[in-house]
Symmetry: C2
Subunit: 300 residues, 2 copies
């Protein structure tokens, strides 16, 4: 048994951090994550640098990490302009985001879902051969504005999106961290049953309410084997410590190790990266394994 971890800290984790992380340091994080055994890394995004100034050097990070052996570097692209910039910078794996819920899609990319689906169709139709696509369906479980997202809505969004191209990896995203294990298990089962075949699946969870690992375990049990996670549990809002971080890569790696599932990750090396990430000025770190492995005291 094997699970694949997609390291998203350099994008989802760094993005909300205010103080600019020097390009040199970003490159070092990617190198060290790679050295810890991670092979899929979302290294940044090609979004408007005015909207996300932290990631304005994604092109440079991409170029300077391209030599890493076996690295599958993924970049987030919000629209056609982002795709053009990403391809120009040499990206070969693009992550595109559509929200299941209207309210979140409007807030996130200022378009309705139908427009995002159309744009997505045009984008994938125009991609050069060999460019891989991760399609992230944000708010697959819960929307910060609309609350619980019904499974039927998610399935019908996927009908529309996958009609454009089946051969993608769909990320079911628990954007708010309010999904629970039953919900995750149920939706994943339904998705896998409905779109059997060339489509691959991933789960993207946040640990906002402590359910990060419980939801990863539920997705795994339902048949998903690819998981987004961020070292140090980054991804939190720096103005609300403890809130909304991605599930920590080191916690996911630890859980799978305990479950006898290989991830290829060296936990000690990863915890060192996580500790450095957690200490970044402006970071709101999460996760438990980092502290637990740093200094275990006798259990009582």
């Amino acid at each position: 048994m094997r699970a694949t971890l997609v390291e998203v800290a350099p994008r989802d984790g760094f993005q909300p951090i205010g103080p600019f992380i020097p390009t040199e340091e970003k490159v070092a994080f990617v190198e060290d994550a790679h050295a810890a055994g991670l092979r899929r890394i979302e290294i940044g995004s090609f979004v408007n640098p005015k909207a996300v100034p932290q990631l304005r050097d994604t092109g440079e990070v991409l170029r300077r990490t391209a030599r890493l052996d076996g690295l599958d570097a993924q970049v987030l692209v919000p629209n056609a302009r982002g795709v053009a910039l990403a391809l120009e910078a040499g990206a070969r794996h693009l992550a595109y985001v559509v929200s299941a819920s209207e309210a979140h899609n409007r807030s996130n990319v200022r378009r309705d879902v139908a427009a995002s689906v159309r744009d997505y169709g045009e984008i994938v139709a125009g991609l050069p051969a060999g460019v891989k696509v991760r399609l992230n369906l944000a708010t697959s479980f819960d929307c910060p504005f609309d609350g619980r997202v019904e499974e039927d809505l998610v399935l019908s969004r996927l009908d529309g999106l996958l009609a454009h191209r089946e051969d993608v990896e769909v990320g079911l995203c628990d954007t708010t961290g309010r999904a629970d294990p039953n919900h995750v298990f149920s939706l994943v089962l339904k998705c896998l049953a409905r779109f059997e075949g060339r489509t691959r699946w991933a789960f993207h969870g946040h640990d906002t309410y402590g359910l990060g690992l419980a939801n990863v375990a539920a997705a795994w049990r339902a048949g998903i084997a690819v998981f987004d996670a961020a070292f140090g549990g980054l991804g939190g809002c720096p103005f609300a410590p403890g809130a909304t971080g991605n599930v920590a890569t080191e916690d996911v790696a630890w859980m799978f190790r305990r479950m006898g599932v290989a991830t290829g990750v060296g936990l000690e090396a990863l915890v060192a990266v996580a500790a450095r990430a957690a200490a970044l000025p402006g970071a709101a770190p999460g996760g438990r394994v980092r502290a637990a492995l740093a200094g275990i005291c006798a259990a009582s």
Copy 2:
């Protein structure tokens, strides 16, 4: 569907805290936990006050909370002397601990497991009618000294213990927090199958490595409906922040609410108790829901 939460912060959570928590404040915590809907509370222990000075006032806390409507107050007793003191103080629900692993039992109560089982047999034989018993099997999954504890060993320990009295509630304790959801699911299924009948079951988890809720979800799925938890995620070692806390009651209550399982707990009131507990001098708090509900920022 209904799950029962057993609040263990006043015992497992307060026990490692150095600065003495005034009796008045302990009583207020129990009162407020009760007001938040918790009806089973482990309010302290009758152990040698030299070993655990923090809990030297358990008799007083027990007396002063006895009037709370419907409160099922449980106290930990390590040996026959503790039982005598507990009964004298009016306790009607005793928690006794035996470890599955020899090394932990010796470290915890300075006896081998066989001696603990014998003592337990004598204790339950001598109890007045109507006194309830929680039998905690520590290190049911993993031992800090011996590592993974085999399921067959756990089952044989239970054979010996339950031969003395079937009508008890057995707490399967993940003392180190190193159990994983597969392990929990598997052992719980085996226990429930082997000891069908009058024995009831509970799961006692720690969140040391972030697996607290994942393990609670696995135990629930396997058929357990009683869960120990500590408000504020207390139970950590104050010398290793983040390490070895009990799973946070507010996180467990949140998860069950999201899963549509009733617990009778008022989350807002409980979070207020948890926040106060987390601020106790010397506390090493854990859990995510406390911070998440205090200040949610827009998810991205």
